[in-house]
Point group: C2
Chain length 139, copies 2
């Protein structure tokens, strides 16, 4: 079972973990890391390495806020060194919930493929949905 | 120019606003709303209505964390009553930054189409990107 780390600028990772737990209940092997103003990519890399070591993680999925931001860059350095670290950028609440819910049925590489597949569907506009509903009502 | 509200479970909206400001600098007409344990959809709807009234917003883009969650449902009630309220579910940092960066060039309906268009590209996996780089190196 892969461990999950959520990490973003500021306390976005912590807030994401709290949101996940508001819906999903208390989690295990689900960690958040913050990235404070004044820190750099290498500070964050050190925090990631310590978190992974201290918790004896093997397969690790790191969800980060933004492609090419510091949280992504720190995670990418880990991913280059370690094939058991996978990174998905563009985290939102739906992706985090799916990562957690599919932990017992999917391997680390499978969850990455799965998140990429469902990612686009997690972004929806209200007017599109109501239009579909109205079209359904007409049928 | 549309106003922007970011809202998620717990303090995800506040944390998102702080993350946006870490990258973009101080924002205007960009608001966050929290949704605390114990509150319900109608409590949040009241807070949204007050925020919009008190700040005299006209066109409003509400970015929420999750389709069909309470923040989405509260925003959808507003969207049903008011054509000047648009909602995009599945917010992540890239979508929030794009919503902010395109404010002077796009109308409310245009930004919704734009965010839906770029949404899928905001979700990327590290191994895909490094594979593309490796393929580029071979050419």
């Amino acid at each position: 079972m892969y461990s999950i780390i959520v990490c973003g600028h500021g306390v976005l990772g912590e807030a994401m973990k709290d949101s996940v737990e508001m819906i999903f209940g208390k989690t295990n092997e689900f960690y958040s890391l913050s990235f404070y103003p004044g820190e750099n990519t290498y500070d964050l890399l050190n925090k990631m390495e310590l978190l992974i070591q201290n918790n004896h993680m093997e397969d690790v999925l790191i969800l980060v806020d933004l492609f090419a931001g510091s949280p992504y860059n720190a995670a990418a350095i880990l991913g280059m060194k370690n094939q058991n670290v996978e990174i998905v950028a563009g985290m939102n609440l739906a992706l985090c919930l799916e990562a957690l819910a599919n932990r017992e049925s999917k391997s680390l590489s499978e969850i990455v493929e799965y998140l990429k597949g469902i990612g686009p569907e997690t972004i929806k506009s209200f007017r599109d949905i109501t239009q579909v509903d109205e079209e359904d009502d007409l049928e």
